[in-house]
Amino acid sequence: MKPRDPSLGPDQTADALPHQLRIASGFPNARRLPGELPIHHQVVKPVQWRDAALGIARDAASVISDAAPARLIALWGSSDTRSHPLASAVFGLPDGLLWLDLPITDPDAGYPSVSDIFHFAGRMQRAVFDLIGVRAMGAADERRWLHHERNADNPSAEGYPFVKVEGAGVHEIAVGPVHAGIIEPGHFRFQVSGEKVLRLEERLGYTHKGIDARYTRLEPIEASRLAGRVSGDSTVAHAWAYCMALESAAGIDPPDRAIWLRAFLLERERVANHLGDLGAIINDAGLAFGLTQFSRLREVWLRESQALCGHRLMMDQVIPGGVAFDVDTTSLASAGKAAGALAAQVQLLRAIIDRHAGLQDRLRSTGTVTTALARRLGLTGMAGRSSGIACDLRYHLPSRPWAALSVQSACQSAGDVAARVTVRFDELLESLRLLECIAVRVPAGPHHLPVKLPQGRHCGAGAVEGWRGEVFVGLEIEVDGTQQRLVRCHSHDPSWQNWPVLEHAIIGNIVPDFPLINKSFNLSYAGHDL
């Protein structure tokens, strides 16, 4: 097994194209799916599959300021007993999202790999093979990814073949999958020389539970509960993306009030996660004061969420057709005031943290992901915005209610832990500002509409800017008389893109800085392992 060559991927020095690829011009046959977000769907042939990836990757190199970069968002496979297996990919383009479906007529012949074009597609393709048994042809790495036990059918490999670094004084440190803290399971294999990390290889999949397959055995309306459990810290984002996809498939438009309340929940979720993570990052640098302060703020915040909608993490509050709860104007107004009060406290803590020399020494130039590296590896979401990749669905493809709120997207270019802390602070304060606005502007009206699914087969897609990044859900429903079912459904967490980048962020850093770097990303294991 060769180590993954970091020079793979689009060449950054290639001549930038004078124009940017648009869905409207580049993919005229793509069908716009119903719904507010411009998501287009197209069934393609193998050669188009690779050409689309090549074209979009070439475009990713030519950066146009203030436009979302062209990017791969998700890649998954689905199989259905009644038709060919499908490979699906979702790309982000400046004017919307493009969802390509590639029917695989001959499963033994596989489908063309795009992992040489998009670095992080490799793992997604390995997952596709694990889940539906179709191989990506031409992929450099064909090891198992999510299904560990199936490694046994490769007789040459003893367990999982980690890539080893040879050399004098190089040794291995294995960490996990069971960790000392109460966190999710994942294995990290460090190749170190002294304290310096030469290479890190992750092994995930310990929480694989077959979410995509489970979807197909659930009622489409009920399945929003499963979507909300893909990754507990992003339950609102995942549930919203699922509901958006189902509403798009059903061709219905949820009422205004529901959309505003969903945004209210999503920003509350973002605030809760940033509060928790900021405390944890500071604690990993040995400053326990930060942890206790931020934990207190987070706890108060979660209790307020419980009072508002009946659940601390706001699980099962976003449902197809709207939201499951309603609040009166007084509660909303006081929630808005509480957001303002929290912002003042966060500012106070931020001042302390910014001035703490010992802490800043730990954060700066630790775990740096340069903009060039981030672009090559496809870093996304909050971590991407810390490395100069300005991409935020709320900002770049504004729909209700973001368009009315003029979201300020945070961006830093340094790409180190300090930059991620800065972006987290900026987003936290921006979310609190949005919450103050939303609290007074939620329109009156129904908070929920009954969802009636139309007869026949329909595709639907939804994308939501969760606190980690773009959460995408693509699904297909089939309604035959009173029989409703999900033919296929896939929840994509941005952790898929960012886990491979973490392997690069640690290179050249020292071993004891890994927990700090890892925490600054805080990626989801459950959302990735599905």
């Binding site: 040794h171 291995e172 440190i173 294995a174 960490v175 000392a180 803290g181 002294g194 304290e195 500071i282 990993d284 640098a285 040995g286 400053l287 326990a288 004061f289 942890l291 206790t292 302060q293 207190r296 703490h356 010992g358 802490l359 020494d361 730990r362 020292i510 071993v511 004891p512 800085d513 890994f514 927990p515």
Partner: protein, 314 residues
């Protein structure tokens, strides 16, 4: 002589009993400073009790060294605590070990623990051993320099004599001791695995120094090692008190004087523990490669202290 032995015994028992309480006190102060509800003062005792009741699990490939190290380390720390004048300077056993031997005993405990950590061959143990030796070889010279600076004044390397002289001099700030005091404080933080050098409360194996050494220990072994760690903190605190704040020691060997010295010691330890908690609360843990710089500064300060003593005699 008989009174001396009684004093010695009292000091030894006080060390064994007070050491876990000192750690508990520091943890309590830290909790308060972080706005947390504090664990009880005797929490370390409860933990020791729990560990002593538990089964001791040892790795299959552990050698006899691994099994004997906890007792040896504990013995080293116990001896260290007997030769430090905590209650009175009349210590009959102090003649067997002077300040240099004290540093040697601390080094011996460190080497034993590092060997045991590498014995079972886990990555974390080896990692911790390597880091602990790095801290150790930089910290020990500083401690020696500090002790020599104090020894120069007393013209003896016996701790009891040094403290006897220091306790009976006029109350005045000696520049040499001021420098030595700063160096000693810095090295104490490093040697006891406190923030900013190490984080005693972390659960992250990759960042550990001292804790990584003891990851493979359990049950009674772990109890002895943790007790020894509290003894080490106690010993360092007492060295600091004896060298830089020796007032309040028993003036003679009467039982009453000895008993009166106990509350004085407890009060000084309480203040010291509080200062340690404050220092730990306001600092972040430094990068591991800043530790040599940090201990380098401590060494320079210790050398300056000694030079001032030699050149200025103050």
């Amino acid at each position: 002589m008989l009174h001396g032995l009684a004093g010695q015994a009292l000091a030894f028992v006080a060390a064994l009993a007070l050491a876990p309480l000192l750690s508990g006190w520091v943890a309590q102060c830290r909790a308060w400073l972080q706005n947390r509800t504090a664990p009880p003062l005797w929490q370390p005792w409860l933990v020791l009790h729990k560990r002593l009741l538990r089964e001791t699990v040892v790795a299959e490939n552990a050698s006899p060294l691994f099994r004997s190290v906890p007792a040896l380390v504990f013995a080293c720390m116990a001896i260290v605590c007997t030769i430090i004048p905590t209650l009175s300077t009349d210590l009959p056993l102090a003649v067997v070990a002077d300040a240099v031997v004290l540093v040697g005993l601390l080094a011996l405990a460190r080497v034993l623990l590092s060997l045991a950590a590498m014995d079972v061959g886990t990555a974390f143990g080896t990692l911790g051993a390597r880091r602990d030796m790095m801290v150790g070889f930089l910290a020990e010279p500083v401690l020696l320099m500090v002790l020599f600076t104090a020894a120069l004044g007393a013209r003896s390397t016996s701790l009891a004599s040094i403290v006897d002289v220091l306790a009976h001099r006029e109350l005045a700030i000696m520049p040499s001791l001021a420098f030595a005091g700063v160096a000693f404080t810095m090295v104490s933080l490093a040697e006891n695995g406190r923030i900013p050098v190490d984080n005693p409360t972390t659960h992250l194996e990759l960042t550990m120094i001292h804790e990584a050494l003891t990851l493979e220990y359990s049950g009674q072994h772990l109890a002895l090692i943790e007790w020894a760690a509290t003894l080490k903190l106690f010993a360092y605190s007492c060295i600091g008190i004896a060298l830089f704040c020796p007032w309040g020691l028993a003036a003679d060997d009467t039982p009453l004087a000895l008993l009166l010295a106990v509350p004085a010691l407890v009060a000084k330890l309480a203040i010291g523990g509080m200062l340690l908690a404050i220092a730990e609360t306001v600092s972040a843990k430094m990068r591991i490669f800043r530790v040599p710089e940090y201990l380098g500064i401590a060494f320079v300060l210790a050398v300056i202290g000694m030079l001032i003593h030699i050149l200025l005699g103050a």
